[in-house]
């Protein structure tokens, strides 16, 4: 008897989860992800993903959007942390706050936590002696 009741409870729990999931998939059709459906289908087809269900493509699009949003949020936090660390006059700080720019440095720091290593060249020079002072250049 006890086993039956617990089994019954777990069944109800599963029904709730299934119901929530079905609702979610239905609500996905109302929500338009930023990445267009055709583009998602193109990339999925490129990797061999076959599914006639549009809701699943939407699910993948939403998952990717969430991932990029998370990365962008982390990069934003890095940017703001850097700005708050720099001590400047009030006027300059306000100007900087308005100019939140996604830089390579912030992005590479944010992506490192997600397992993506982005290394970026500091600068490109057109000759080995570029940027050196005149003494060493003569040599």
């Amino acid at each position: 008897m006890n086993g039956q009741t617990s089994h019954q409870q777990s069944k109800d729990g599963r029904h709730d989860d299934d119901a929530a999931l079905t609702e979610f998939l239905a609500s996905l059709m109302d929500y338009t992800p930023t990445i267009p459906d055709e583009l998602v289908e193109h990339y999925l087809a490129k990797s061999g993903f076959q599914c006639p269900d549009i809701r699943l493509t939407r699910l993948v699009a939403v998952a990717t959007q969430k991932f990029i949003a998370d990365v962008a949020t982390d990069a934003l936090q890095q940017c703001k942390a850097r700005q708050s660390a720099v001590v400047k006059d009030k006027r300059d700080k306000q100007q900087k706050d308005k100019r939140l720019i996604l830089t390579m440095e912030d992005l590479s720091r944010a992506l490192r936590e997600y397992g993506v290593n982005v290394k970026h060249q500091e600068y490109f020079a057109d000759s080995p002696s570029a940027g050196l002072d005149s003494v060493s250049r003569d040599e």
């Binding site: 989860d17 979610f24 583009l39 990339y43 993903f49 993948v60 998952a63 990029i68 997600y114």
Partner: protein, 274 residues
Amino acid sequence: MRKSLRHNDKPIIEEAGPLPELEFSFTITRVAVAQICQSMGFKGAQISALEALTDVATRYLQAIAKLAVASANSGGRTQSNLPDIIVALEDLASLQGFPGNSSIRSRSLYTSAVIKDLMKFVEYTDEIPFARPLPPRTIFRQGAKGKYLKYRGDGDNSRGYRDGDSLRHVPRWLPAVPVVEGKEKGEEGKREVKWGCLDGRTREEKEDENWRFCDERKRVERVVSNKEIEISGKRGKVRFKMGVAIHNPTMVGNLRVQGLEKEFGATDYDEKEA
């Protein structure tokens, strides 16, 4: 030199002739990623940073697809379904970690924290529709300019390799594949051609060691769409009887072609015994 792309302006898509497909999809993805960054609060981005993030996005999409396909294939399926995708998402999220990842007992995929996070994300985030309407589906061929082909409608997986009415990988001079009766009959120009087919009479095969090419069971319709390739008219039905006849002494070691019958338009075929 640092360049920054302002999000307030419309994204500039350079049009330098026909774009290869990779650049085309990359450019569109870049626009979408830029929109996402803007909604997060960024006012601008370095071009190299934006392109790096776009590259990450495309690789993420492809990684989900690859993992989902692998999961489906290991289950003996060719089409992925929802649990496959959840497995793929869990794999990718296991780097950062999510609650429930360490549970030793087998847990239900449907209650995974990954899906719950997604549900919250959809609930609390506003929609950001894509900035521009996408151009009609273009198929990229080497050396060809971007042609705008007919849109074949949703849910048609064959969009990538169809070219109007025919398939791209099939040379045009090959005849069309015959359509079995019962499928939708489209345009004009169809003829009825009788095809001989093997009937499933295996028990008689074993008994007599006679192979019999049987009567037609189905009527096969041939779609003749290409006017210059026309296979001449209706062909007659050919019947063969071969083999070493044990029961029938008159046919020892004989190969007889029994009757070349030409029948036009007949629908029923009786089974004829030896």
